[in-house]
């Protein structure tokens, strides 16, 4: 629990603040529209549906303002860079930007539903009031100022032979409302996790409907159909008093002098909320475009077995840190798509590299393009690096790194960097011993990582520091033939599957054994446990950390860090 609080206090605070602001805005404006004298007569026609519609509209404005901000990744990077004085945990929360974006999107969907239902009632009741011929207060109010050219009417429906549907489609707010709601629904259905992961292009291109959403949102309120009594009119006509005798308004022969009430519209204000984020986002897209124009030189392209493409690149002014990622675009494959890849090179190297695995349309096309070995290498555009660096790894005396499946990729960068720092006796490196656990179903797609471990192994032997890195590979997808081969080659020096000195184990690791071994070997150290892998594994590692950390502060302590690379 304490670990959770330390790692998650910042997003908890942000979400609490966001929820609080939503609740506050909703309640405040609800009460305003439900109680204020200005809207007394509007409420006679509409009941509390007015307040529901206006309060949800305010929350919609608020959330529409927020939704563009988390996706301005260059802006967030800039904030992260300038906040280097802030604690790292705070900067790391900027990595949860997409989660926040989704949360705000859900809020927009919810408030849209409330807003639409309220306005359905409003249109219906406005229409009913206009058509009522019974001399009731509603019909009197509806008939006020209808014939004149002045803009003082209350009921926006001016004829009594129409339907709410017709009114909707012939007024600006109605029409824009329908259009932006349809756009919103299309955006939501194409962003469902299933669609996003399987057919990314559908999601990406449909999501650009947000342009229609924001354009419509800004226009939505300009007609001013929702009205309240003007201040001037309130001076001459007190609703609470005058409502008792509506038939005598405007006539001078009564004791209580009531002029006819006059109404004015609430000015459109959506643009005030969303203008700044729109400008920021436009600037962000321009920045991405400008950065992408900068030349990226592909110094080396290697196609590894199992369809993995390694690209080593060079870009002027590019500087990275361990564990960051970049977005890559290849115009010859697709002009508009950018996809993220973790950097697999260390900052100390003079190039930066990514390993791209075939996992969908775009990646397969990219690998094919490079495999064809055309004389002119396809142009690559790079945006980034993004993400918070995982410098924490270097702060622990003993580090246990666990990479599962594709989660092993960021550790390539980490291991290389640690090795460089160790070789050059970098003062920032406090690590004395690394235990690396690599879990995967089969090594096919990660043969390149295999080679990395092999070369590290060799370098360690050459410099006589074999004890520094201790790695174990666990193949969870073994079958009888592999096990048979392993048993047969038991006495060989190198492992039959990987060719590494360290023997491969089959099946999942028994973490209790691993943790107790580390605890026994380093009885007084602080051990950092880093995982890049599935949630279930995170749980079991966390449990082991609690179990094997000694209560005595001088003895061994395990700290669990789940890094979302």
């Amino acid at each position: 629990m304490g670990n959770w609080v330390v790692n998650h206090w910042f997003p908890a605070v942000v979400i609490a603040a966001w929820l609080g602001l939503n609740v506050f805005l909703f309640v405040y404006y609800f009460l305003l529209f439900d109680r204020d004298k200005k809207f007394y007569y509007t409420r006679v026609l509409l009941g509390s549906a007015l307040a529901w519609a206006r309060a949800s509209a305010k929350c919609l404005n608020f959330n529409s303002m927020l939704i563009l901000l988390p996706v301005c990744r260059n802006l967030l990077s800039f904030l992260r860079g300038t906040c280097s004085c802030c604690r790292r945990t705070m900067r790391k929360q900027l990595d949860h930007n997409l989660t926040f974006h989704k949360l705000v999107a859900y809020a927009i969907a919810l408030f849209t539903a409330v807003h639409i239902i309220a306005h359905l009632c409003n249109f219906e009741w406005y229409n009913d009031s206009q058509q009522a011929a019974d001399g009731s207060l509603s019909s009197i109010l509806s008939n006020l100022h209808q014939d004149e050219e002045s803009n003082k009417w209350l009921n926006p429906i001016h004829t009594n032979s129409t339907t709410p549907a017709y009114v909707t489609f012939t007024t600006i707010p109605g029409l824009t409302g329908v259009i932006i709601t349809v756009a919103l629904i299309l955006m939501v259905t194409s962003s469902m996790e299933f669609i996003r992961r399987s057919y990314f292009e559908v999601f990406w291109y449909t999501h650009h409907l947000f342009i229609i959403y924001f354009a419509g949102l800004v226009i939505h309120g300009i007609a001013g159909l929702v009205r309240g009594q003007t201040a001037e009119s309130l001076n001459k006509h007190n609703p609470e008093h005058c409502v008792q005798d509506p038939t005598h308004w405007g006539r001078n022969n009564t004791d209580s002098h009531c002029e006819e009430p006059e109404f004015g519209s609430i000015p459109a204000e959506s643009w005030k909320w969303v203008l700044t984020p729109i400008l920021l986002y436009v600037f962000e897209r321009f920045l991405r475009f400008w950065r992408s124009r900068q030349r990226v030189v592909v110094t080396k392209a290697v196609v590894h077995p199992s369809k993995v493409l390694e690209l080593q690149m060079h870009k002027k002014g590019f500087s990275m840190e361990v564990g960051q990622y970049i977005f890559i675009n290849c115009p010859s494959v697709s002009r508009l798509e950018w996809h993220p890849f973790t950097l697999t090179s260390a900052p100390e190297e003079d190039f930066f590299s990514v390993h791209i695995r075939a996992a969908g349309d775009w990646t397969e096309n990219l690998i094919d393009t490079f495999q064809q070995q055309k004389p002119k290498t396809p142009r690559i555009e790079v945006d980034g690096p993004f993400g918070t660096a995982s410098e924490d790894v270097f702060q622990y005396e003993v580090a246990m790194l666990v990479g599962a499946g594709i989660g092993v990729t960021p550790f390539a960068s980490v291991l290389k960097s640690v090795w460089y720092k160790f070789q050059h006796a970098d003062q920032r490196l406090k690590t004395k011993k690394i235990y690396f656990y690599w879990l995967c179903r089969d090594t096919g797609a990660f043969a390149w990582f295999n080679d990395l471990l092999a070369s590290l192994e060799q370098e360690m032997e050459e410099s006589g520091k074999t004890g520094f890195l201790n790695y174990r590979l666990f193949l969870t997808g073994w079958d009888n033939s592999i096990a048979g081969q392993a048993a047969f080659n038991f006495d060989n020096d190198t492992d039959v599957v990987t060719g590494l000195k360290q023997k491969t184990s089959f099946g999942r690791p028994m973490w209790s054994n691993e943790f107790s071994a580390v605890a026994t070997a380093h009885p007084r150290s602080v051990v950092g446990v880093f995982l890049c892998g599935p949630q279930a594994l995170a749980k079991s590692l966390q449990n082991c950390c609690h179990q094997y950390s000694s209560l005595d502060p001088r003895k061994v302590k395990f700290y669990f860090n789940k890094e979302n690379f």
Partner: protein, 186 residues
């Protein structure tokens, strides 16, 4: 965009439209708007669309994530054979269902969304896609080794040599492990 199965998106859109139809219908019926019989129809149509669209079809390539509890509805939808398998039928059906709801403001949003879903289904049908049910995987495993192995080992490797293991009793009762085996919590 080579491998897009439009039917998957059409399915999400149609499911959403069904829910919107139901919501709009409930509002109009509850508040007794003029023309509320159309809303009552919309509720019925919405429920029908939701039930039809809830079971996700099987993707041609790759594994498909089932929706929670969809296997009961899959069984029902499967029964109708070619009517539910063919996406032309679905496109026309959704278009037809959408029209009556367009006469009332509360449900017109449902009409628009269902109309769009119908159009995407038409696109899917033009590309030759079909609805195939997601079958449950068979429960029992086929016999290992072609039936030549009578009693497969119950302990994972590494196993101690046979002499230190007790001989298994005749009717495959639980084995007593001479070396303690810790069961790892998944």
């Amino acid at each position: 965009m080579g491998r897009i199965e439009w039917a998957m998106w059409a399915n999400e859109q149609a499911l959403a439209s069904g829910l919107i139809l139901v919501t709009g219908g409930i509002v109009a019926v509850a508040a007794q708007f003029k023309g509320w019989p159309f809303a009552a129809y919309a509720i019925a149509a919405g429920v029908f669309v939701c039930l039809l669209e809830y079971p996700r079809g099987k993707r041609k390539k790759g594994s498909t994530m089932e929706r929670c509890g969809q296997k009961y509805l899959t069984a029902v939808v499967k029964v109708f054979g070619p009517i539910t398998r063919n996406y032309y039928v679905r496109a026309i059906l959704h278009a037809a269902l959408a029209v009556p709801a367009g006469f009332l403001l509360s449900t017109i949003l449902g009409t628009a969304c269902l109309g769009i879903a119908s159009a995407i289904y038409l696109l899917a049908a033009l590309r030759g896609e079909e609805w195939n049910p997601i079958e449950q995987k068979p429960q029992e495993r086929p016999p290992v080794g072609g039936g030549t192995i009578k009693q497969p080992p119950t302990m994972p490797p590494p196993r101690p040599p046979a002499e230190t293991r007790k001989k298994p009793p005749a009717e495959l009762a639980g084995q007593e492990n001479p070396i303690p085996v810790t069961v790892e919590a998944e």
